[in-house]
């Protein structure tokens, strides 16, 4: 046992966009190249005619999952509160969407749904009876800008413990452990007018744990006239300062699954064939996950492709390779 590896098919969004890999191709890649079975999907990316896929689509899904002997881990679901356009959705309308998504997840064989950080606990509570009935857990995402001990997390953990229910839990996104600017995003900013001299300064800001305002002041002090829109690293800087990875250990019983966020996998200097995301700490959180006895999935969520799509086809990201490298890293950290 131990930590299990999976892939969110989010990672292959670009391959799907260009129609170079269909759903079956993506599932096959996970089985045959990564030698693992965990599959996570974005409902509105993978499921044709969401929320009412055809029988033909459902047959295709089930047969591909069976053919490669895969496990449907988590289905990521959304809450578009302006859907009706004539009013902002009420809590019970949001809960209806969540309940329907849970039923759909069940139909597809998923163990869990991931709901967004911004979904109020009240909405989740309304969906618990359906989660219980379907035996599908609801995991609320801990995404960037949230920290492991903020009100959103403690409120949910307190509720789950008081109610003694496994059906409400958490989906931490490894992006919360970002501790350096991500190069794909910095390079995008530079191609779109940001001063390249900002890059080393952004690294300083992270290293010195500056907050956003200190960082703006610091960069503008060094390069007068720098505009705030050039400082795309501020958002990720904002969360790094406050994260306590050791908290992952105690959260283990509440973790439904984990988003293995990556921006770019590069070779570790001096270690040929070994890769890391140089902007996100995996080593420390994985240590605490192991100490806490986590036996669930970490599903790769490669997100760096969006920062290269302003270039020609020859310079866009290789999603398949990025995910393969991430699994090399995870195997090593897990100790497979």
């Amino acid at each position: 046992m131990g930590i299990k590896r999976g892939v969110s098919l989010y990672s292959y969004q670009q391959e799907q966009f260009f129609k170079r890999m269909n759903l079956r191709d993506q599932i096959k890649e996970v089985r045959e190249s990564l030698d693992t079975d965990g599959i996570e999907i974005i409902d509105q990316q993978a499921i044709r005619d969401y929320p009412n896929p055809s029988d033909e689509w459902l047959d295709m899904w089930h047969s591909a999952m069976a053919e490669f002997n895969m496990k449907a881990v988590t289905m990521d679901v959304y809450m578009d509160v302006l859907q009706y356009r004539d009013h902002v959705m009420l809590y019970d309308e949001c809960a209806e969407r969540l309940k329907n998504d849970i039923r759909l997840a069940k139909k597809l064989g998923f163990a869990n749904v991931r709901c967004l950080s911004a979904v109020p606990l009240e909405v989740i509570k309304m969906a618990i009876p359906v989660a219980e009935e379907c035996d599908v857990r609801i995991g609320k995402e801990i995404h960037a800008n949230h920290v492991l001990d903020d009100e959103m997390v403690t409120e949910l953990v307190t509720y789950a413990e008081r109610r003694q229910t496994p059906y409400v839990g958490l989906v931490p996104d490894m992006g919360i452990f970002q501790y350096r600017p991500s190069m794909p995003s910095m390079n995008y900013a530079v191609r779109h007018g940001a001063n390249p001299d900002i890059i080393p300064l952004a690294f300083d800001c992270f290293e010195q744990h500056m907050d956003v305002e200190e960082a703006v002041k610091y960069v503008q002090g060094k390069i007068p006239g720098t505009e705030r829109r050039e400082l795309t690293f501020l958002r990720s800087l904002d969360m790094y300062n406050h994260q306590k990875p050791e908290l992952m250990k105690d959260l283990v019983p509440h973790i439904v699954s984990i988003h293995g966020k990556i921006w770019e996998m590069t070779e570790i200097p001096g270690e040929p064939g070994h890769y890391e995301d140089a902007s996100i700490d995996y080593v420390t959180p994985f240590k605490y996950l192991k100490e806490g006895g986590y036996e669930g999935y970490v599903d790769t969520e490669y997100e760096g492709q969006r920062h290269k799509q302003d270039q020609g086809l020859e310079n866009i990201a290789n999603e398949v390779e990025e995910v393969r490298r991430h699994h090399e890293m995870m195997r090593r950290l897990i100790g497979e």
Partner: protein, 152 residues
């Protein structure tokens, strides 16, 4: 996202009705990593050779149905624009476009959300953002430029 592929480069054509050229059209993809509930699709900032064509003269064709204006699209609250699918954006303009290469500046607006945002939710129900401001532009908030030929 998908900045350079939001308009298919060989898709720009004039539109003829009853023997008269009434506008032009182009194939567009979704500027996000997921499909969208169709009602959330809020039109385009589209500037062709320096002329801005507002949402009111735009129509959108998807899911095998005839082109609909954005007041109709707004009512498609239980219809999905699938991630994989190209839609056709129609712009009504008498006489259409001249043959040759056209400079297009483009931004899509889809009001998809990640939960409540009290600062804008009620405002966007009353006054949906005008495409081009970046508001509601989702994952591609830059205005993207294309130089593409009229093919028909």
């Amino acid at each position: 996202m998908f900045d350079n592929w939001l308009i298919r480069e060989d898709s720009l054509k004039n539109v003829t009705e009853n023997g008269k050229v009434v506008g032009f059209k182009m194939g567009v993809r979704i500027a996000d990593y997921r499909g969208a509930i169709l009602s959330l699709h809020n039109g385009y900032y589209i500037n062709v050779d320096g002329v801005v064509y507002p949402r009111e003269v735009q129509k959108f064709e998807i899911n095998g149905k005839p082109p609909r204006d954005f007041e109709e699209i707004k009512k498609a609250v239980h219809e999905h624009w699938n991630y994989d699918d190209e839609g056709m954006l129609y712009v009504m303009k008498e006489g259409g476009l001249e043959p040759g290469i056209h400079h297009i500046e483009f931004q899509q607006s889809i009001l998809c959300r990640y939960g409540y945002a009290p600062a804008v939710d009620e405002e966007w129900v009353r006054n949906p953002p005008v495409p081009g401001s970046g508001a509601g532009a989702g994952k591609t908030s830059a205005i993207v430029s294309f130089d593409i030929p009229l093919t028909e």
